[in-house]
Subunit: 191 residues, 2 copies
DNA sequence: AGAAAAGGAATGAACGTTCATTCCGTATTG
DNA sequence: CAATACGGAATGAACGTTCATTCCTTTTCT
């Protein structure tokens, strides 16, 4: 394929560098360099760095959500759905470390925090499969009856921590450890 | 105005600004300003910004560890010790949001990652109460027999996530919710 | 008075962004 | 068909800003 679009090259380079060095450690000049384009070219595709980061995130959502939802069967039990989703999430992170590191940077930045605020406080709709699952879990009394946000933290806190430690090389996750971790998360949220 | 040492003022100002805006959003000039000192004065107390950040972290450890260990009784059961420690930790974060936000920034930065690498990979000794507790927990078969790092993530992942959400205003933690959260963490790590 | 501490303007490096210019594929002309 | 004109895409040197750090003057302390 002759056409790795310039934009695609920029997106790839930006994701890599931001994942590796954070927003402030990834100057536009360096991104342009790695993408093999001129510094000014980036501004033909993105209004400025801030907008570029937001677009990077949107692209990433569009790529990752379908993968994570793949094979999800809403008819199964709460427990099975939970395990499936958490495993899919953890696997996605392990297989796409650049995406994971970028997400960490994003959600630790002011933009990410604001994004989350909008989502929690109503407005936005996102990967609502999770929300539905947890609401079902509570009303069917298979999960603890505590605020949704805390339930999320109990489930995703460990997933994110474990993914980070794997990617940083502090542990080597295999199938067995993934299963252990996800089941331990279930122990945390189950009633 | 006898006491508040210049150094203390600088530390306070730096902690606040870094907690609020991150390392890159807290220029030395702004720190000097808030501390009520000249820009050059900072360099009489800290060799440079990097060293200052490391010192800030060490100061913070010295202040927080004693508070968290307070009232810890090594004779009690694993479960009781775990609950005590996690509650103390979560309470400390809630009562010292500036410290918490600084720690988040620190551990998301290259320095923090390197610090953690040293600690996990042997060399350093830190708040070893936790390590001891978890090793006891495994050998006494009251905790899951999985790698220590994962056990840490299962316990602290949710604690940190919940503390963050509280400080960002996404939930309002009270005594009841703190207890719920910590007990859910126990459900995650217990055998 | 002399030494130590504090101050803040000066410095130079690094950054995001701009813009005059170049490049290149396509349309137009003779 | 060859030569020329055109226009949007791409470029990267240059700009203005911001930052950490230095340096020299002023203030404070003994």
């Amino acid at each position: 394929m002759s056409k790795p679009d310039k934009r695609d090259e920029i997106v790839r380079a930006a994701l890599e560098l931001i994942a590796e060095h954070g927003f402030h450690g990834a100057p536009m000049a360096m991104i342009a360099d790695r993408a093999g384009v001129g510094a000014g070219t980036i501004y033909r595709y993105f209004e400025n760095k801030e907008v570029m980061i937001a677009d990077l995130y949107r692209d990433l959502e569009d790529r990752s959500f379908p993968v994570i939802k793949e094979g999800y069967e809403p008819e199964k039990t709460i427990r099975e759905r939970f395990l499936h989703l958490c495993q899919a999430l953890l696997r996605y992170f392990i297989e796409n470390p650049v995406d994971f590191r970028f997400l960490e940077q994003f959600f630790n930045s002011p933009y990410g925090v604001e994004y989350r605020r909008d989502k929690i406080m109503g407005k936005k709709e996102g990967c609502d499969i999770f929300r539905e699952l947890f609401e079902d879990g509570i009303s069917q009394k298979s999960m603890k009856d505590i605020p949704l946000v805390i339930l999320f933290d109990l489930a995703f806190g460990p997933i994110l921590a474990v993914a980070r430690d794997h990617i940083l090389g502090f542990i080597a996750l295999d199938e067995v450890l993934i299963t252990c971790t996800v089941e331990a998360c279930w122990d945390g949220v189950r009633r």
